[in-house]
Each structure stands twice: as structure tokens, then as C-alpha cells.
Symmetry: D2
Subunit: 363 residues, 4 copies
């Protein structure tokens, strides 16, 4: 039963304090990091050959090799859906399919781009926490070799997941081992890879532990949600999958012509590991948000956030006025669950102001 709204609701709404300067809609509502803007300005100097034949892109490729501790294929692209489609296209043959969770961005939030562009089936498996376990892969063995079934060929994990959970390095290593033993490869949808890395130690060593050291084959390396104005990358760790990468990038609409401007943005965040600082900060803000509501009457929250999102259940009557005051998205309407997401530029003041409003309205 839904608790009824308080008799003084109208008054509570009218007397809400000033909302925070930045809302909690999404990390892609944030702008660009100042270093990114500076890098764009600096890169706007004279002519540079298009499509990556420029020094900024070469620098980006070097920085990626450095980041992962070995030579990798590093391909700049426009956006997350594009990165995912490009990575998956590099690993799929005809009649293959992609194993993912029912929450995965590729299955739910990409308007069928994967099926359309890959011409391949996605096989979304159920998961309470948006993570897969090796047993789920093993249970697909009966599909293998049977001509009536699309053949599982790629396991696509999201790190951190669409539910804000984070795979440990060991969990990913176990999934990679199972996938490889079964003849599959592993793709990491890392639209928020930085937040996962921050959650797992916040160092380059941590990044390697759950990617290259764990056996991951391909990564969609997110930049936009971490402070770029726009740009992602596909990282090919398994060289066998990189031979057609440059052609595939063009084929999936993802080859930036003035590539120096995408490269320069990424370089700005990789320099001095601003990307990790950005992510660690966003994660910390989510923890602060969580801590501020965890004890409140009428608000239900689950486990503390692993990364930069909180998924509280609020009193039904509180959601609309709270959103009108400071925007956020619904998550699961049936249980009055919403999503609050922090970004690289969320401030402690934003969190405090928001929590003040929540308490004012709900308690």
C-alpha cells in the first residue's frame, strides 16, 4: 500500500529551499571539463590531415598503450552506441549472437542499433544486479554447434553496470576464462569505465586488473560521461580482433573527420589522470547522496553505491514535486524507484542542497 501524501504537501512544496545548481539527471547532462575545452582551443591551430593522420591522434594512441601497459588498438569514435556496435562488429561472424544482461544498454537503450547494424541477435539473460556469472555462460553450451540457434560468440559486460554495480577484477577474469574456454570473446561496455576503475582502486593498475589482465578482448572506453563534450574510443586488446577495425569504424558511421578534436579532448583527461579524479569525485558525491538519504523515513535505498548512481524508492506523492524542483529520471515506476546520478562536476553544495530539499519534502 502506498502511503498517502501528507496534509501539508502543498505548503511543503511552496517552501522548498533553493534547488542545487546542478541536478542529478545524468552524467551526460554535465558539461565539459575545463581542460577539455582548453585542449580544443589549443588544437584549433592551422590545418591537420583528417581521419586521424594528425599528431593529436598519434598521441592518443600512445597514451592508450601506456594506460593499458602494452600495445593496443585505439580507435576514436563519436558516441557510446557507436563504440559498442563497432566493437561487437569486430568480433561477430554470420549467425553469431551477443550474450548480455536484460539491463544492458545495447539491448535496451540503443533503439535496435546493434541488431540493425550488426545483423545479429542479442541474447539478454536475466540478472538481479545487471551482472553475469560464469554459470550463465555455461548454460548456453547446448546452443553451440546446433544450426537452428544463433551461436554465442561475444559476451558483452557493462562495467560499471546500468544498475550502478561494479564487477570485481576476479569476477571479470572468471567470466573471461569461461567465455574463452567456450570459444567466445569478451567485450566491456565501459561508458562509465572510469567510474568502475575509481571504484576498484582508482589507479591504472586497477584498470588493468579488470581489463587486460582479466582477459577482456575489447572495450568501449567512455569519455563523454567523464567530462568530454563528445567522444569515446574502442580499445582492442585482442589483436586478432583488430585487423578489420578501421574499416568497421567507417562502416558504422563512426569515423570523425577532424579527429584531432576528439583526440585532444581525450588526451586532456588522460594527462595527469584527470579521468580518474573526475570519476572518483562523481562516485564520492553519489556516496554522499546515499548517506544523506539512507536513514530517512519513507525513503528506501539498497546497498551503498559502488559508483555514481543511487536508485532510491520514494513515496509516490513526493516524486513529481521533487523532480519539478530538481530534475531526475524515473527508474521503475511500479515500485516508485528513481535514479539520481552524479557527475564529474557535482559539488558537495549540490548534494547538500538536494538533500535539504528531500528532507524538507519527504520527512
Amino acid at each position: 500500500m502506498t502511503p498517502s501524501s501528507p496534509p501539508d504537501l502543498a505548503q511543503r512544496i511552496a517552501s522548498l529551499p533553493s534547488p542545487p545548481e546542478r541536478a542529478f539527471a545524468s552524467d551526460n547532462a554535465a558539461g565539459a571539463h575545463p581542460a577539455v575545452i582548453d585542449a580544443i582551443v589549443a588544437a584549433n591551430t592551422g590545418h591537420a590531415l583528417a581521419y586521424g593522420a594528425d599528431p593529436w591522434t598519434a598521441e592518443f594512441e600512445d597514451r592508450c598503450a601506456d594506460l593499458f601497459g602494452r600495445p593496443v588498438g585505439a580507435y576514436l569514435v563519436w558516441n557510446g552506441t557507436g563504440a559498442n556496435v563497432m566493437a561487437l562488429a569486430s568480433a561477430l561472424g554470420p549467425a553469431d549472437c551477443v550474450v548480455c544482461t536484460e539491463w544492458s544498454h545495447i539491448a535496451v537503450d540503443e533503439a535496435g542499433a546493434p541488431e540493425r547494424i550488426l545483423g545479429a541477435k542479442l541474447l539478454p539473460l536475466p540478472s538481479a544486479d545487471a551482472k553475469l556469472v560464469p554459470e550463465q555462460l555455461e548454460a548456453l553450451a547446448h546452443l553451440q554447434g546446433v544450426e537452428h540457434h544463433a551461436q554465442p560468440a561475444v559476451v558483452s559486460l557493462t562495467q560499471c553496470t546500468e544498475l550502478g554495480t561494479v564487477y570485481s577484477a576476479d569476477e571479470i577474469a572468471a567470466l573471461c576464462a569461461t567465455a574463452h574456454r567456450m570459444g567466445m570473446v569478451v567485450h566491456l561496455d565501459g561508458a562509465r569505465l572510469a567510474n568502475a576503475c575509481a571504484a576498484l582502486g582508482g589507479t591504472r593498475q586497477a584498470l588493468r586488473s579488470f581489463t587486460v589482465d582479466a582477459g577482456v578482448d575489447l572495450i568501449s572506453f567512455g569519455g563523454t560521461k567523464n567530462g568530454l563534450l563528445g567522444g569515446e574510443a574502442v580499445i582492442v586488446l585482442n589483436p586478432a580482433l583488430g585487423r578489420r577495425a578501421k574499416f568497421i569504424r567507417k562502416m558504422v558511421n563512426q569515423l570523425p573527420s577532424k579527429m584531432r578534436f576528439v583526440a585532444a579532448q581525450f588526451n586532456a583527461l588522460l594527462e595527469g589522470d584527470v579521468w580518474l579524479a573526475n570519476a572518483a569525485h562523481a562516485n564520492a558525491m553519489a556516496t554522499a547522496l546515499y548517506d544523506g538519504v539512507a536513514g530517512l523515513d519513507g525513503v528506501r535505498v539498497g546497498a551503498p553505491p559502488a559508483a555514481n548512481s543511487v536508485f532510491p524508492c520514494l513515496p509516490d506523492w513526493a516524486i513529481a514535486p521533487l523532480r519539478e524542483w530538481c530534475f531526475f529520471w524515473d527508474w521503475d515506476h511500479a515500485i516508485h524507484q528513481v535514479r539520481w546520478m552524479t557527475a564529474w562536476d557535482t559539488t558537495s553544495d549540490d548534494v547538500s542542497a538536494f538533500l535539504a530539499g528531500v528532507r524538507h519534502l519527504v520527512c
Copy 2:
């Protein structure tokens, strides 16, 4: 017979003057216009909802309605291939095909993206000047209604063309009339729409004359080559083709999340018609380049450039050293033809310096 190289070639090369600051490789080798950079900096202020629910995008949509003199669908996308694929997907049904020329970017330079993402055939027709004529469409009538043939459904014209030629408004109107009479719609690949507009009068009225007034249904409206750091738009003039546009944009990997930064760039060029000034300048620089070589011994050029490219034939021995001195691309190796392309930022000094080098080397 190819003329042999002059005996003093080595000396000529060694004594080449200083090359121009900017080469003539392509208009996508240019950087971004200062107003574009300023607009990005100005747009980087706090949070804004993603995917176009922001004031900059709303402004862009208003500006497009204003530009075309009536309500239009205006969809920001990442790049030219993406714009073309999105536009064509809006107009194609199953078993349809796209009529274009053998020179068309969609057929030659997009790595099969159209066929892959559209699942449709391209039907490239021969053309000496990269332009189609109505008779070529009429000659396709025998395909219509026959189940063995992909059905011509969209005519894709490039304006200005890949050979630097420009359709007149009347020519496009005639093609639209024929296409419509045959049940087809017309798409304009306008990666260099601004240069075409500049060539045809350089006013908004001119733009309308060869687009909305001529009966064009869909446009890929180029921004990158005109001075953006990255961004194009799909303009839907025929409302019947716009109903699925927003879904299609997402499906073809072309929905920018922090869309304000694409919108702000475009707005900067549309404000005060900087886009037309940029294009007119680039065109003028190509004319200057043409005029400077038209009379030279050993250099063959065709008709004066309609837009911003020159396709001269040079002595075979001159191409490599000239390119090493100041970069440009080959066009047709068999006839020693190269392409020189000007950009919004090409200066008269660039042209003079380049011509000086050409004369020094060739004459």
C-alpha cells in the same frame, strides 16, 4: 606521352620557396571557425539535459525553420556518412534502392555503410560531371513494379558534387519533378551545401531555390567542412518522411548525448550567415588558384571551379615533389590529375605562396 622531367629538377626542388601555411588537402583539414570555438566555450555552462532537450538545440531548430522559410525537421548528427544514412533510412522501404552517380560519396567513400545499415542497394549511374539528369531517372522505369529488381525509391544528389560541379536550381527542380512523378523522393547530400549555395548566389533565397523550392525532400546539411569542429544535420523538408526520424537517428549511431555542443557550433555559423561567408571565401580562393594555373605551361585544367576545388593535370614528374612541399591528394592517377581544395580559412597568401611554388617547379 608523358613529358620527361626537366634536367634541373633537383635544383628546382631544392630552391622551392616557403610553402603556404595551409595546404590544399581538403576542407576537412581546416580547423574550427573562431565563432564556433567561442560558442562551445559559452555553451559549457552548468548542466543541460542530454539528447537535445536543451535551449541550444531548440535554437538550432528555430534557426533552420528560419533558414528554409518554413517548419522543417532538423536533426543534429555527428558526421556526413551518418547524416546520409539517416536521411536515406527515412525514405527507404524493404527492397528499395537508392539512385546516385558513380562518383557519389555514398557509393564510393562510405565503406559500404549505406548497404550495411540500410540493407539496401545503391544504383550508381555513370556521369561525366557527377550530376544526374532527368532522362537517367526515366530510363529506370523498366525496373519499377518488377519483383526481381530492387525498386528505385530515392534519388540522392550531391550538391556541390564530388567533382566540384554545382546543380542549378532548375536542374534540381527538374530532377525532383521527374523523381516525384515516378514515385521517388530526392535526397541532397550537402556535405558542401554551403559552397553550392555560395556558388548560386550566396543568399538564403538561393538556398531555398535549389532545396525547398525545387522540391527536395531531405538534406544532409554539412557543417564540418564549413568550419565546425564536428557536426552535421539532417533536414527533413517532406514531413511525411520525418515521422520516424528521431528513432532512426538513434538506430544509426548518430544521436549526440551532449547535443548542446553540436547545436551551439551550428548556431554560431548560422548567426549572421557566417556559413555563407565561409563558403564564399573558400570558393573565391579556389577561383584564385584556378586563375593562377590556368595559363601555365604543362598544367591542364578544365572549366573554372564552381565551388572550392580544382582538379588540374600536372606533369607526372612534378606531382610527388610538389606534394612533398605542400600536401594534396591524387585524383586520377592515370591522367596525372590531382585535387586542390580550399577551405574557409585558406588565405590569399596561401594561394599566392602555392602558386609561386607551382610556377617555380613546373614552368
Copy 3:
């Protein structure tokens, strides 16, 4: 806990009676009905224009109009996967998706053909009995109009289902009403449409009650499992979906050139409603099979079969020897469930002989 095998298992196996002449593997293990063979022989007379411009195809089209009680589009194709893909392609726009159950043949048993050829997502919903209910469609409303999600456009029902259950006419009418209200159309995968019709009354009126009268838009009308040597049809009940059908058939590899031989087969089964007699017989044989094992110790069966398949759970130790004696397929290995399927040519003797073997081995 699995019951252990009986001490005299080896002896039981050795003394199994003669197996039935026909096994229970599938209805596509059966041959062709004699009337079908006769029709092929009769149609093999001189020349006839290819691709359906022949009298046998015209007759088939007339027979379909007669069968459904009004003009319909009737398109002969090769096989079930092809019929499904053709039907769905007729109803899908870009970024659309197909709603089905997790058991559906299109989602599970077609090797990704729908995703590949349609370039569209399938949205498989959970279902205990392989049937959908209107509430499941209504729950998809939140996807509609949101550009990040593939848009539900077609509901594909299987009749009878992959689990051998049958929708009532009212159930299908309710699903059609909901689907149409939400802007979707309804496809019936009727690889075993005849068995469903037999289960629902076994008359042409029954067929109309759950198809044309219920609001179904498109049907894959199965012939192969009903006694053809090979051939299916796509029936377009909603004329708006038929305009591109002939082009689509060719585009999905499904246009038979010597079409008279497919038409003649179908005509033979439609004449005198042999198709319904075949299906009623197959259904009756499944009921006999069910009745014969329903009371047996160690055999668990669910509800009586609605159509022509039985899904019993057997003692684990019995499955392999029983299969070796008379072939059938596993269904759910985890619960020792198998599938026994009858066909138009299964005889009472086949059933008796099989039941004798089951009793001999298991009891």
C-alpha cells in the same frame, strides 16, 4: 532425487518389442501426403511461366480467398523461417521491434535470421505456456515514443505454440485489440496452423474465428508439417501490409521459380480440406499417446495435449534406451523432459507399439 535405474534394465532393453514403424521425432520427419505427390505428378506437364504466372498459383490464390472468406494476399514461399521473415518484413519500419515469447521459433530456432534479414530487434517476453496476454503488451507502453528504445510494432504469436498449446479465438482477438489500440499489428506464426484449427473445431469457420475475424494482420501458413514435401505461404489479411509483399518475398530469398509445384501441393491439401483431416488425425494421435502414458508410474505429464505434441518427464535412465529404440528429441534436459510429436501419417499401430515399449521399459 532421480530414481535409480531398475536392476533388470539391460534385460528390459534387450527384450523391447518391435518399435513402431514411424517414430515421434517431429511432424517434419513425415513424408508427403499421397495427394500431394499426385498433384506434383499432374503439374509436371509441359511449360509454365515461372514465379507464379501459372494456373496452379492462380488457383491457390483463389482457394485462399475462399478459405478466409474474403480477398487476401497469398504468397507461396519455401519454408517457415522464410515465411516468418517475409511476413515480419512487411510490417516493420526502421527502429521497430517484434514482440514475441521467449519460446518463439523466431527468437530461438531461426539462427538469427530475423535479426539479420529484418535488421530488427526481437523482444521475447517470458511465458509459462508460450502464449502472450494483453497485459504484457500494455506493459510495453513505456517504450513507445522514446527514441532510445526500439519501437514495438509487430506482435508475433505462434499458433499452435512451440509448447503445443493453442490460443482460443477470444484470446487472439483480445491480443489483436490491444495491439491495434497501441499501434501495433499482429502476425501469426502458423507453422502448425492446421493443428490449431483442428483443436479449435476443425472447420474453416474455426480458422476464420481466430485469424481474420480476430483481427490478425499477417499469417505464416504452414504446409510442410501438414503433409507437403515443402512449401509454406504468407497470408496478408491487412491489405495495407501487402503493397510491398512481392518485392519482399524476392528480397528474402523466398520466391520459388517453378512455383506451380508449390502451388499444386497446397491445392491438393486444400481440396476437400485434407489439411484439416491431416491435422485432426495428428492431434488425435497425440491424445492417444498422452492417454497411454498419463497413468504410468514414473512418467509425469501435464495437461492433455491441445494439438500434436506431448512433453512428458521420464525417468532419467529410461530416456537414452527408449530413444535408441524409437527416436524422439529432448526438450528440457534439467527435468528429464522430452518431446513426442505426432504427424499426419502417425498410425494407431505406431502409438500402440510405442506405448508398449514405454510400458515395457519404464514400469
Copy 4:
């Protein structure tokens, strides 16, 4: 200038002799060879597992190994478009394209099925005789390795061609050598492979000379036009291309369920090389047809037919009445060219009767 019709045309038409029993529309207007019908009847005996797990299919596979003189992949499919798409899908990676002629069936007559199902570009090259030469492949070298261009990966030759011409074994060997050297593989669209084989000697040794010995990688082996009621096969000569074949067959809608009936038909034609006799006879009938019109006033024919089609140019006024009397298809309307095609069942009487009518009308 077109010659005007004779003053007595009406009278000539009225007094035309009896038309031949069989017209010259196409070899797919013919019925099935009696041995094929007999084989179907014989195969219709009891149950057999579906999808090729039956003795007839095993026999077909053995017969193919025997035919080509070594182990091959032999995959039965429904029709020619399906065979071509399946074969090409086995050899294409993402961003690859298929090189063919402008006359090729895959480019002209398959309603875009290749582009749709393969998601790949076709690159049709000009050709006067519908044959490619190695120099045309070599001229594509500039596309290789450049990310903007779809990558030539498969050369698809039609044997015999759509214009009735036939590649010699040496010509195919030279094309294979060039293709392989450039990293491409070679596909033979052999919808009329038998007619080509008959033209090149009419023995199994001849077949091998222009296929397996010449270096061909994949064949679409036509059956329907050679006397089956319906059925083709994909022959994989290059084992590296066969690993995914069975999955691809299902994915492209081409897996027959009651496969024994397709296998039995093929086996009937392969037994005693009926397939070669059928083809040799059809070719001989085309030669007779050619010889009968070669000298006629008002009829222009080119070189004698290599296989089973003649492409004469007739007086414009003669075409419609002649077609009404005995059907055939137009070929090139602009030059009043038509196509007369013979089949396995064309008789000398058919040819004589037809020639009598032509002479009566035209001379």
C-alpha cells in the same frame, strides 16, 4: 531507322502455323525431369529425420565428393538467390564488397537480397560479354587498405553468364589466380553450371577443369533450371570457407526441413550424369535455333550460342505478334533484342515449329 511493317502483316499473323508445344521463355518454365519425379515418389517412404539427417542427403554429399574428385562441403538449399547469398555470406567480413559484372544476377535480378542479407556492397563492373578479366580485378587494388572504401573480398563470376557466354577453364583459372594474389576468393554463380559444363566438354573432367582445378572457392550449383522441380546447392571447395556454412544456411532462410526430397531430386540427375545430358541437349537446341535464324533477312544475331540462349534482334513490328504466338521475353528494348531460351525438354519439333513461325512472319 526501323523498317516499317509489311503491308500484309495482319494476314501473316492470321496464317501463322501452330505454335510449338513448348515456348522459349526460360529454362525455369520447363517442368521436372521424369527421373526427378520418380525419385521424389521413391523417397516418400515413411519417416526420415529433418534438416539433412537422412540417407538421401548423405548420398548427395557423397555424390558431390565424387563429382568434384575430392571432399567438398555440399549444402542443399531452396533457390538460386538463396544459394548465392549463402555462398557470399560464407566469404564476406564486415566492410567487404563483392566484385561482379553489371549483368550479374546478384546485382540485377535479386531485388537487393544480397545487400539486405549480406549487409554488403556489390561492385558491378562494366562488361560487354558479361565476363570479367583479371585486369579489372587488378584495377581495384587502389581500394584495398583504404578505410573509406568497401574492401573487395569476393569475385563472383556467373558460369554460364547472363548473356549466355561461357568462361573457359583458363579464363577462370587466371581470374582465380589474380583474385587469390590480391587476397580475394572466387564464387561461381552456377545457376546454369550444367550448361557451361556441357559447353566445355560435357564431362566431369570438364567440370573440374573450370571449378576445383581452376581454383574456384565456392559454387552455387544450379538444379532447378536443369530439371529439378526446385533445388540448388552450395558447394564449398575451399574448406576455410565452410566452417560456418551450416549456420549461415539456416540464417539465410535456406535450410529445407524435409531435405530428403531435395536430395533425392539432385541424386536422380547426378546418377548417370543425366544433368549433363539435359544440359547438352538444351545447348544443342539453342544452336539449332540460332542456325535456323542466322541467315534470315531482318534478323540480326551475334556469335553462335555457347550455351542455351539466343539473343536476336528482330524487326520491331514482329516482336509483339511473335510473342503472342509463342512467348519469350524482351532483352534490350532499345535495339529490339529479345531472348530465346531452350530447356532440357525442348524438342527438335519445338525448334522447327518456332522457326517456321519466325520465317512465316518475318521473311
